[in-house]
Symmetry: none
Subunit: 221 residues, 4 copies
DNA sequence: GATGAATGAGGATTCATTCAT
DNA sequence: AATGAATGAATCCTCATTCAT
């Protein structure tokens, strides 16, 4: 076996040739890290996907670690920014949970590799993610919980279970992207198609609604 | 990085020396595959964890693939058996969703590596899982959906959204095990402790209850 | 690839089960050494061909070297004996070259692996064959040359070219067995079939005849 | 035996350092494959002979198979070209068999490893040689037989035995190179010395002459 | 007489990285 | 900015051999 039973990743769409190499490397690397994780992804495949030779990568990134860090940062940063924004909004303008689901899902739909990358990290204990998160995720999380806690309807869950609500939401959002490759193999259906994403987003909105809605309200369609 | 920032995995607890080697190999391999995935796990580390040399593994398994298949089979089989049992129960005796959550979580708590292994597989498109699942998971899934569909209270979701309920449940169960290593690093708390598992299980029960319960009922504590 | 793109060698014809294991080992080993040479043949395949496990071989032979030596000895000895006999015959009864061709080819036809084994050895410089030959082949060769030299009709070649005649005969005899596997692949014809062997033997007889015959005699059919 | 009873092959004559590495690899590999066959030759020894480390080989050849194929192609191609030329010459200019012997032997003397390589292949059934030969050797062989058939003096052998003449010639040419290592060990004489080759070539010419000459002509000296 | 288990040595190949060009 | 060549370390796996059972 010469190499790569992995997806063959076509060698650089010519129309992108003009684009800045660094960006193209990040794109390919993101996809490969999402597929195989940090340890499982090979720089040779990254280079191959970009249409250059492996050593050329070192003209743009100091090491595999640095490349991975750049991928993570580029991907995670806007998501954290969004969360930050949502969470810091003054109470009056704060979007309801359905709107939150929509905005988060819309953003991740732009970078569907990102959640898979994060899941890889989580499984391994997040060795690369930690430095990135420690400065940001702490405050975000705290405020997120405050926000949830301030949501009307949450009181029936009990304050000490608010973190569970956040975790559950995280699982339902991120997990959807994570099973997509498997689901396609198993059921022949692409969960990341716009239509499928929209339906899942609506479903999430309904679930959140149900969690927080006044008891008795039927889940709207 | 010279080698193994991975957990050094102590080299074979002497008290287990008597146990059948094959079983010890499976245990260590399960943990490593769960941590690093198939490609990322090194047979050298498996052997090291068992206390033997790498080539000795080949006296018990024909290849890395075969070892991985054995790990998957040993782990997945009882879970599928449980699901099968739950799903095939006559309607009258069928456990409610809260009981289902309890039994599934109790089983996975025994093999907490398994869900992480499955998540790795899912991210990669399930190349090794597919042959194992195709013969089993199809019928189980169909019946699971039938079961959910027969659950009183589901009708407000609409038949076409039943698969989403199943997926969401899957995410909340499996995701909990998948973030555990990350969560420990980030929040210093072990989600797989008995107490934490129990609370998450209760939470899941409440969520399921809410999904299916007659509107208006408050989530029980 | 689990193992052996080599010929799969069926795992021990049951009718031979009663036979003495040692002999069965020698048979299988002979074939494999003939196919792959000493370094290329694997004891695992020998054992597999016999229907036992590799370590059991060591109950019969002290090492791979010893097994190989036994194969060589068993195979080479009768051939050398034949040559010895032919060469030592009193001049009056000495068979003509045609008869020599027939007897040698008949004997090798019984052990068609042997010439291929010898060719392997020759290519490698004969490290295993040397000790076996030094005690025997010297005298045989000397007498063979004496015999050829005494053959009527040889004088036209000149005494100093007698070794060449012997070498050429060797090449034509041994080479025929050596190309057989290749020839079958290339031309779809088995040079070791009785009929093919007979025709080659007759051909050799004619060549020898021509070498030594009084000039002008046509090669008989 | 810890390792390499093989000739230690001195680690790269410094005067060749400048030469193109790829060519040096081919040279060393050719010699080792000729000695030990494909399976028996170790890339470590190839690299060692060239004066580089094993992985560096992969900068020049994709695999052991690819290296072997390159060796075969480089070696076999000029020989086939020569045969092609000889065979396609118009009848009037066609060289006599003595001249053919001279040209073929002269060419092989330049690459004395090649025939040994081919013999290894033949013993194993020619798995690597087949694709290379199928496109070339077929036509060559057909024409060779036509050429032989058109040789005056062949009629006494009978048309159906023409292939045997070709085979016998092949054995005598190739076999000479194949036993050379063995012969040196056994008789202390190098059959590949220019003088020895010249005498063998003359001998072959005489044999061919005898085969085809008008009956009665004495073999010329 | 056979074998399961273990192992040191080695064998092909991959990988991240360096460096001169 | 790109690359050909080189390489130490590691990866999966094979092999001949040993030994207790």
């Amino acid at each position: 076996m010469p190499r790569s039973p992995r997806a063959p990743r076509p060698p650089a769409p010519p129309e992108r040739r003009g684009e800045h190499t660094r960006e193209r490397i990040l794109d390919v690397a993101e996809a490969l890290f999402a597929d195989h994780g940090f340890e499982g992804a090979a720089l040779r495949d990254v280079a191959g996907g970009v249409g250059i030779r492996t050593p050329s990568l070192y003209n743009h990134f100091a090491s595999k670690e640095a490349l991975y860090a750049a991928v993570l940062e580029r991907g995670v940063e806007p998501v954290l920014a969004l969360l930050s924004e949502l969470v810091q909004a003054p109470v009056a303008e704060r979007p309801d949970s359905r709107a939150v689901a929509q905005r988060v899902m819309a953003m991740l739909a732009q970078r569907p590799n990102l959640p898979r990358l994060v899941v890889h990290e989580a499984l391994a204990g997040g060795p690369h993610l930690r430095p990135l998160l420690q400065k940001v995720v702490g405050p975000v999380l705290v405020r997120a919980q405050q926000a949830v806690q301030a949501t009307p309807g949450v009181e029936r869950w009990g304050a000490e279970r608010v973190p569970f609500l956040v975790l559950a939401a995280y699982h339902m959002v991120v997990g959807h992207f994570a099973i997509a490759p498997f689901y396609r193999e198993l059921a022949g259906q692409d969960l990341l198609e716009p239509e499928a994403l929209a339906r899942w987003t609506r479903f999430l909105g309904d679930v959140f609604d149900l969690w927080f809605s006044a008891p008795g309200a039927p889940p709207p369609k």
